[in-house]
């Protein structure tokens, strides 16, 4: 029976399992969901990670099946829970794979205690964005692939930008001056475009603290560059409101914004390299061979939980389309699990569900002051508390071994982030309005990942990630190389 486990890793392109212990070390552990039950210590709990006790070796196939059923229930429960209230997240709108992406988690070899992994992602071309909006006229949702600066709105309404401020402020005086100018869909509309390119690198260290329990620490790095920023004024010159809008607002739009906002630079791009949010995770893996089954040969379960630390570069409120390299200063709690099935030692299928709950943070932020305001340029900058919504990640993959350690895999990954909530510390503005910002609304991603995988003493993955659809997200096409090595 043990020999069957030995080959598991090479047959598992999505989630490489560790080689089964070849010694007679007997391990025992308790599984989530059945802790303290009569199953504890039985062989069904031990095959991959626990030194097999005598009792375990005597375990019956029926008990093993029972365990699988229970384990599946645990996963399904987690999945259900995730759909309803739990979360996972990171800088997902960036649409790079995260360091803990389940497609690249490699199981430690049983005789090793330390693993290092590197995940390197390179943007294939300039990043685009996915925008959708509900058209009030047709009651339909329009979805479009657009320039990154149009991720939330087709264009930016300079007139709406200056609304929501008291008339006795500098912004309000300008708004009053432009009283006669309504937003007719053209007047005051600035069409922004820019080129955004990004790459992501991450390193992950893994240390076995118990035979089936590992500690993972991952550190991502990002490199982004926003360039070639252009603003095109859509305002016509047909009437007085058009002309004064141009004269007082849009002809020198970028400088006006710089002055009115107290420093928001929308004229120039930026280039940044920095660290993302460090993540520490405790992970349990359990491998359960199915020798009695004709097709299903192995079931591998995992459960993990951890924390993300706000080490990442935070959003620069005075930069155009500034991107945080993490959760923008928020600490997070992750929880997730997965199941991996091996059929006929050739095919694999896996399902992973992860959630992230982020804690709120308070600092000065830019926010929306008028319900019609577009999202790229907010002039208001005040102390506010942001409570991010929950995030969920679902991953479904299949793979096939094509030649010895080589396999081809394809996976679908979906992330969904629920709406964030902003609470203002200033009663001059409305939190209700602020929370109508499209940038605070939920986002989602859909990605197809194709991989060529080699598993041996070290593991390599050459992959391509193709985003499609999604809501309020960047569409980042990525080629990447992942490798890991155990020590």
């Amino acid at each position: 029976m043990l020999s069957k486990f030995r080959s598991t890793r090479s047959q598992h392109p999505f989630r490489c399992t560790s080689t089964m212990p070849q010694s007679s070390l007997k391990l025992r552990r308790v599984c989530i969901g059945v802790s303290g039950s009569g199953f504890a210590g039985q062989a069904i709990l031990a095959p991959a990670y626990a030194p097999i006790s005598a009792a375990g070796r005597r375990a019956t196939a029926g008990a093993r099946r029972a365990y699988i059923v229970v384990s599946e229930l645990v996963v399904l429960s987690s999945l259900l829970l995730g759909f309803t209230q739990l979360s996972w997240a990171n800088i997902a709108p960036l649409n790079f794979l995260l360091p803990d992406d389940p497609n690249f988690v490699v199981q430690l070899q049983s005789d090793r205690h330390f693993q290092f992994e590197s995940l390197n992602q390179f943007g294939v071309h300039n990043i685009q964005a996915r925008r959708d909006f509900d058209d009030p006229l047709t009651d339909k949702t329009i979805r479009e692939t657009v320039n990154v600066l149009q991720i939330w709105n087709k264009d930016q309404s300079a007139l709406d930008m200056i609304r929501g401020f008291s008339a006795d402020t500098a912004i309000g005086e300008l708004a009053a001056k432009l009283n006669s100018a309504n937003d007719d869909g053209m007047r005051g509309h600035m069409l922004p475009t820019a080129q955004l390119h990004g790459d992501a690198f991450s390193g992950r260290a893994r240390y076995r603290v118990l035979p089936s329990l590992t500690v993972n620490i991952s550190v991502p790095f990002y490199r982004f560059k926003l360039s070639d920023v252009q603003w095109q004024d859509q305002t016509l010159s047909e009437n007085l409101p058009d002309l004064i809008t141009k004269d007082y607002l849009t002809n020198d739009f970028t400088n006006n914004v710089l002055e009115l906002s107290g420093g928001l630079d929308i004229k120039n791009g930026w280039s940044q390299i920095g660290i993302g949010d460090v993540m520490a995770e405790l992970r349990w893996d359990g491998n359960f061979p199915q020798p009695a089954r004709p097709i299903l040969k192995n079931v591998w379960l995992s459960v993990r939980s951890g924390l993300t630390f706000p080490t990442g570069l935070r959003k620069n409120e005075n930069q155009l389309f500034s991107l945080p390299f993490g959760n923008d200063g928020a600490m997070g709690l992750t929880i997730g699990g997965g199941i991996d099935l091996n059929w006929a030692k050739v095919f694999h299928g896996n399902l992973n569900v992860d959630f992230l709950e982020l804690f709120g943070t308070t600092r000065a932020r830019r926010f929306k002051t008028d319900v019609n305001q577009t999202d790229l340029v907010f002039l208001a900058y005040e102390k506010a508390r942001l409570k991010p919504g929950i995030t969920q990640r679902f991953n479904l993959g299949v793979s096939a071994q094509i030649y010895r350690g080589w396999s081809l895999a394809v996976a679908y990954e979906h992330m969904k982030h629920h709406s964030d909530t902003l609470s203002l510390y200033n009663n001059l503005y409305s939190s209700e309005i602020a929370n109508t910002a499209a940038s605070l609304q939920g986002w989602s991603t859909h990605d197809i990942i194709a991989r060529l995988n080699y598993t041996g003493r070290a593991n390599f993955n050459l992959f391509y990630k193709h985003p499609f659809n999604g809501r309020h997200t960047l569409l980042t096409n990525v080629v990447g190389l992942e490798f890991s090595v155990d020590f």
Binding site: R163, A167, E173, A175, A176, D184, E238, L240
Partner: protein, 927 residues
């Protein structure tokens, strides 16, 4: 957000429907219209109105012998052949096909007297019409002596714990009303339950109270006579029930017994315990002489004639008696309309004339303002307004009607009195609206002082957009339109019409001829308009001529809205295409006597860009048309700087060598005002006063005096200007920093600089910051005459917060400007705290109070169609938390090409009375 072309397409689809031009209310009536009655009722958040018409000719099987148009919709027949008559179902309807002699309304239910009959039929239920109506009859009425009356002279209703009807009846002999036996019969609709259990049924009856006898109403009536028995001199009796005061006003033509006696032509009737009692409109001692409108005493002139009586509850919540007639015989007062204050406090004097100069009393509940009332009754002669009192004379003068004739109808909506005139044009006098008969519907609006009392009235102004003789009219509160009964023969009035908003498509008015819309004004000024301004026939430089100036992008149109025709000043209607001229070099093209429209482009207008405003400027006998735009100012003048001298009576009277010439160096001109030989130019950052001079125009040396401009370092001073109103020494300046006026003791017309103006803030109650627009109401025909007893509706609007409010000011400039020159109307919400009049809870671009309705233009954000909204009726002091969405009927405007993005203040076509809305959509009319 959709791309603009798609939005345009979708929105066009959505808003095509309102563009209709139907005017005649269908179906065509089988018999001409005879009696008609108008029902109007304020409800929470708005009002409803129905217009009843009755046949003046018997036509067999005419189920429209009585018919109603509800809220301007098609007629519903109220005389079906079978009806429930005196509780008998499916009985032959006695009204069907008959000629109706009298028509009255009790609440919203009609009562009729058939021609030749002496009983009243009351339709106590018309909810199932036209399928069925419930009719109850009174039986023949008796006079006050218990004898069968000779005739029922007038019929009206009242609602006070049930429906009552009042019928003025002659005595049996048919003597003139007022002779012994004459009286007012009081009838009541009574519902009783008969039978028990399954047989239980409701039975309806129309009972004549007072044992079937009329209540005596003769010249000996204490409430009517003063000292000695007076004489009622005609059979003309009119009623008006006031639901607020629970009394009926009975008007008649009376004559005092002699020069040492007196008489009252209006008597107050009250219904108490099913009995009708009569109260003097004012005590004997209050009448002295022959100028107190509703009464006379101790005067050689002994006649007092009140032809029609109505009441008004103002927006300041005071009640007034409105009458047509006055001191004199009936043939001498037909063109006089007066307003007299009424006691509307709950005391013994309720409903009688109030001491006009007493301060109204305000009542509150839990510190919230609730009501305002005159509480002091008039007791002496000095307590009553007279026929020369500015506050009493509705329309500031006589109706455009010969005194010997009579107005055909009168009704009151909110602060406005409407009177219809059925006379054809006739007079040797050609002064407009005075001394000559001018047909149509006319209105006058009350102007208030700081206590809420009426202090003056706007001059009579034609409304409704019709040039026809009007025999009856009503107001449609849901849209601000009018029912009209037009015709040249009062015995053959075949149609009931209504005005309607839209492009006037082939309506025979501004929408073209009845067969060709393409020749109409609407079709021929079909370009995005930046402004549309009316200049009435009283404008200096005009003789029997009225003009409207439309402006657009590098474009100016001169529209002759009215001129002499057939010897009378009449509106130009129908064909504006014939003789229309255009130029592309900014010069006046060759015009002919048939030219009603000339459009100028090019030349100096190209330099102006969007032309945003215009003015007809006058200095002595010299006149100019001056326009302002985004990039400057241009004068229509010849090479010597002259416009025209003397007067013009048609467009072709303009000198042929005029062309627009750019003068000065201005940017973003938003308002031009001409007053006292000066041109005031308001830009968004400057107010200049320019002496009007041909030489200066010729030399382009304007010699402006800058009266306002932002001052560096003067915190709180205005730095963006939106509107200006100038009248004599007083200027009001609407700015982003609130409302400002000329300082005390200063004079805008003589100030040499900004310091000399001493701009002084007018601190609006509950301000929102920017003051955006003025809507002045003047007691004179001069649009700049608002400083004398005028009112100004001030629109404060700030798009930054999507807010807009209306405050009301009263202005009384007499002598030097002081702190009392500009005061607020007493609009309150919290007791004893001035407040705004209306809060829209949204931004509004334009506000007008015209033709009895308040309108707002709403140019909203994010591609929502433009809207022209009529506010609900009945807005009054204390309506502070007026919900702008409730009760407003929206007239959307057709979209053309680019999304509409501009709507201007409405203009009233002073010649025809049509309302004109202009904006990026072009022109729309309410006529």
């Amino acid at each position: 957000m959709l791309n603009p072309p798609l939005r345009i397409a979708l929105l066009n689809l959505l808003w095509l429907l309102p563009l209709q031009a139907a005017k005649t209310i269908t179906p065509t009536l089988p018999a001409p219209i005879g009696p008609h009655a108008y029902f109007y009722q304020l409800l929470s958040g708005g009002a409803i109105a129905n217009f009843y018409v009755a046949a003046n000719t018997a036509v067999a099987n005419n189920t429209y012998a009585i018919a109603v148009s509800r809220n301007g919709k098609n007629l519903t027949a109220l005389a079906p052949a079978k009806a429930t008559v005196d509780n008998q179902k499916a009985a032959a309807n006695p009204i069907t096909g008959k000629k109706i002699a009298r028509l009255g309304l009790a609440d919203d239910l009609p009562a009729v007297v058939l021609d030749g009959e002496k009983q009243v039929y009351f339709l106590h239920s018309i909810i199932d019409a036209p399928t069925n109506v419930d009719v109850i009859s009174s039986g023949n009425l008796k006079d006050s002596n218990g004898n069968l009356t000779a005739s029922i002279l007038a019929l009206a209703g009242a609602r006070q714990g049930g429906n009552y009807l009042l019928a003025a009846v002659q005595n049996q002999a048919g003597d003139t009303f007022g002779a012994a036996g004459s009286g007012i019969a009081l009838l009541k609709s009574i519902t009783t339950t008969v039978g028990k259990d399954k047989d239980k049924a409701l039975r309806h009856s129309l009972s004549v109270l007072n044992n079937g006898n009329a209540f005596s109403f003769t010249g000996d009536l204490t409430a009517l006579k003063i000292s000695n028995t007076a004489t009622i001199t005609s059979n003309n009796v009119d009623f008006c029930w006031n639901p607020y005061l629970s009394c009926v006003y009975i008007a008649a033509d009376v004559q005092a017994a002699n020069a040492t006696s007196g008489a009252r032509a209006v008597v107050v009737g009250k219904i108490t315990n099913n009995q009708l009692t009569f109260t003097p409109i004012a005590p004997d001692a209050a009448f002295s002489g022959a100028n107190q409108i509703v009464g006379v005493n101790n005067s050689a002139t002994t006649d007092v004639s009140i032809q029609k009586v109505r009441t008004m509850r103002t927006s300041t919540q005071l009640d007034y008696l409105i009458v047509i007639g006055g001191n004199g015989s009936r043939s001498a007062v037909g063109n006089q309309v007066y307003a007299l204050p009424l006691v509307n406090a709950a005391n013994s004097a309720t409903g009688t004339l109030a001491k006009y100069d007493s301060t109204p009393t305000e009542t509150s509940v839990n510190s919230f303002y609730r009501a305002r009332a005159y509480t002091t009754a008039a007791t002496s002669a000095s307590d009553l307004l007279t026929s020369s009192s500015t506050a009493a004379v509705v329309g500031t003068g006589n109706l455009p009607l010969a005194a010997s004739t009579e107005a055909t109808d009168i009704f009151v909506i909110d602060d406005t009195v409407f009177v219809s005139i059925g006379n054809a044009y006739s007079s040797s006098l050609r002064s407009v609206y005075s001394g000559s008969d001018t047909p149509g519907l006319f209105s006058s609006q009350a102007l208030f002082d700081s206590t809420g009392r009426i202090q003056a009235w706007t001059p009579w102004q034609r409304v409704g957009g019709s040039n026809e003789q009007i025999w009856g009219a009503g107001y449609i509160p849901t849209t601000g339109d009018f029912w009209l009964i037009p015709g040249t023969d009062s015995a053959n009035l075949t149609t009931l019409q209504r005005t309607i908003w839209g492009n006037g498509n082939a309506d025979g008015l501004l929408g073209g001829t009845t067969s060709d819309a393409s020749v109409g004004l609407v079709a021929n000024v079909n370009y995005p308009m930046q402004s549309l301004t009316d200049y009435n026939v009283q404008t200096a430089g005009f003789d029997q001529f009225a003009l409207a100036i439309a402006t657009g992008l590098k474009t100016v149109s001169l529209i002759a809205t009215g001129q002499s025709s057939g010897g009378f000043f009449q509106p130009n209607l129908g064909d504006f295409s014939t003789g229309a001229a255009a130029s592309t070099n900014g010069a006046l093209p060759t015009l002919s006597s048939s030219t009603k429209l000339v459009t100028l482009t090019g030349g100096a207008l190209n330099q102006l860009g969007p032309v945003t405003c215009s003015v007809v400027a006058t200095a002595g006998s010299n006149h100019w048309i001056i326009v302002g735009g985004a990039d400057g100012l241009a004068v229509l003048c010849d090479s010597s700087g002259n416009g025209w001298s003397g007067t013009i009576s048609q467009l072709s009277d303009l000198p042929s060598n005029l062309s627009f010439k750019q003068v000065g160096n201005y940017q973003y001109v938003t308002r031009l005002v001409c007053d006292q030989n000066y041109l005031y130019v308001l830009t968004n950052e400057k107010l200049d006063r320019i002496p009007l001079s041909s030489t200066n125009f010729a030399n382009n040396t304007l010699n402006p005096t800058t009266l306002a401009q932002p001052s560096a370092g003067s915190t709180g001073a205005p730095n963006t200007y939106f509107d200006v109103a100038i009248s004599g020494s007083l200027a009001l300046l609407a700015t982003a920093q609130g409302l400002w006026r000329t300082g005390n003791g200063n004079d805008i017309s003589t100030a040499t600089n900004q310091t000399a103006v001493n701009w002084t803030p007018v601190l609006l109650p509950s301000p929102i910051g920017p003051v955006y627009q003025f809507c002045p109401l003047s007691a004179t025909t001069n649009p700049n005459g608002w400083s004398t007893l005028g009112n100004i509706y001030v629109l404060s609007a700030y798009r930054g917060y999507q807010q807009a409010r209306i405050n009301r000011l009263t202005v009384n400039l007499s002598g030097a400007i002081d702190d009392n020159t500009v005061q607020f109307l007493p609009d309150q919400y919290l007791a004893d705290q001035l407040s705004y009049f209306i809060d829209f809870y949204n931004f509004k671009d334009a506000f007008n109070y015209l033709a009895g309705s308040m309108y707002i233009g709403n140019c909203r954000d994010n591609s929502t169609p433009l809207q022209l909204q009529k506010l609900p009726n009945g807005i009054h002091s204390g309506s502070r938390y007026f919900n702008y969405k409730s009760g407003i009927v929206t007239e959307s405007l057709e979209l053309t090409g680019r999304l509409n993005n501009q709507i201007n203040q409405l203009a009233l076509n002073s010649a025809s009375g049509a309302l004109m809305a202009s904006g990026s959509f072009g022109l729309r009319v309410g006529e």
